[in-house]
Amino acid sequence: MAHIAPVQDWATDFDVLDPRYVSDPFSIWDDLRDRCPIAHTDRRKSSWLPTRYDDVTDIAHDIAHFSSLKVAVIPGDEDEDPNANFDGPNLEYGLPPISADPPLHTWTRRLLLPWFSHKRVESYVPLTRELCRGLLAQFADKGHADAAADYAQQIPVRVIARILGVSPDLSDTFTGWVRDVLEFADDPERRQRGGEGLFNYFLGQLEDRRANPGDDLLSELLTTEVDGKPVDDGIVLGMAALVLIAGVDTTWSAIGSSLWHLAAHPEDRARLAAEPELMPTAVEELLRAYAPVTMAREVTEDIDYKGCPMKAGDKVLMNFPAANRDPEAFAQPDVVQLDRAHNRHVAFGSGIHRCAGSNLARMELQVALEEWMARIPEFSLAEGQEITWAGGQVRGPRILPVVFP
């Protein structure tokens, strides 16, 4: 990990990897919202950081000025040839639809959406529930666990593997690659290793699926036709990698943050244990308060946005987590209210790039919490043991020691 020079002024020199931002971004956003709602930095790349709900959602809807071609929050070297270390199909389109603007965005998204529809996601509930119960059985009698590594981290990757039709036995490997490209993106070696791992693995899967098609997402992408033509292999690879990358770190972080909240707030934990019918509302509230994902946009042409002189090529970090804490949009935003009735949160984004997997993520979070609460209704943070958080593109706990009777 590159050395992070401590931030002196968050308005003009912010760094989302500064340890203070990773551990407590909330007070930094509050400060910025009051005095400079859109911060700037020249670290890594000239980037802007909106903190108000209206600004974030406004920019998300202005796809003409704010492109999705480069969505990495930790940009690395985005000008490098994506095929430089990959001997296979052309990867120039990145990970569509997330890294695409219309029209590529539109048709690639339509191919993915039915796999994550409400109806389809319902059919993944039994396997998710069984998976959670199996994980809980491994530690429920021990009196302690790492709620992040032993539980949260283990769930989404296995559900996504099933949808993609790849082996859940490789879950730890998948998790490692995804962490390399997201969590450790500031380290060029790890970023490259993760990308190579993912694309080479899916390249092999493509060949396998061509010979032996199944009823999984990869097989469908290989046999589908758009405007009478098969989908380019490079685009299929990008979509497959996207489903894995977007479906692992994000939901795992949401489950971990939610368990952290319940472990740290005994009154909320007790209330959820006593009133399980609150769960759907509580899930939305936990998503609001601990939205894990920040995405980036690229400014397409020089523009004065609310007094900010944005230049073509600048990044804007879509600070959905900060939007969800804006007092202009939410009453008492820093208080988790498990029965919050009015909650227009944007944890899954806003506009045409609304998280395509939001139904799946919501289901996984709810089932993971339901099963945990059913088996371990009383738990708290393990005193004196360190909790670690990952930040940057995705924020959530990575080590979360908890104890229970």
Partner: protein
């Protein structure tokens, strides 16, 4: 009460369907629609909740 979902604004968050499946449906692409011509009195509260939770401001009450 009558309500409608603006198909241009709806982005498939499915919050309305999650809150009130008696009132809304969502298709395979996430597009929400209202399945009741008239919202009966006992569902009006739920309809208002759906309006207040849509992140895209896509649901509107078009007549009481």
């Amino acid at each position: 009460m009558k309500i409608r979902v603006d198909p241009e604004k709806c982005q498939g968050h499915a919050r309305c369907y999650g809150l009130a499946p008696e009132i809304f449906d969502v298709d395979d692409y996430g597009q929400a629609s209202v399945i009741l011509d008239e919202i009966p009195a006992e569902l009006e509260e739920k309809a208002r909740l759906a309006v207040a939770n849509c992140p895209e401001y896509a649901i509107e009450i078009i007549g009481d």
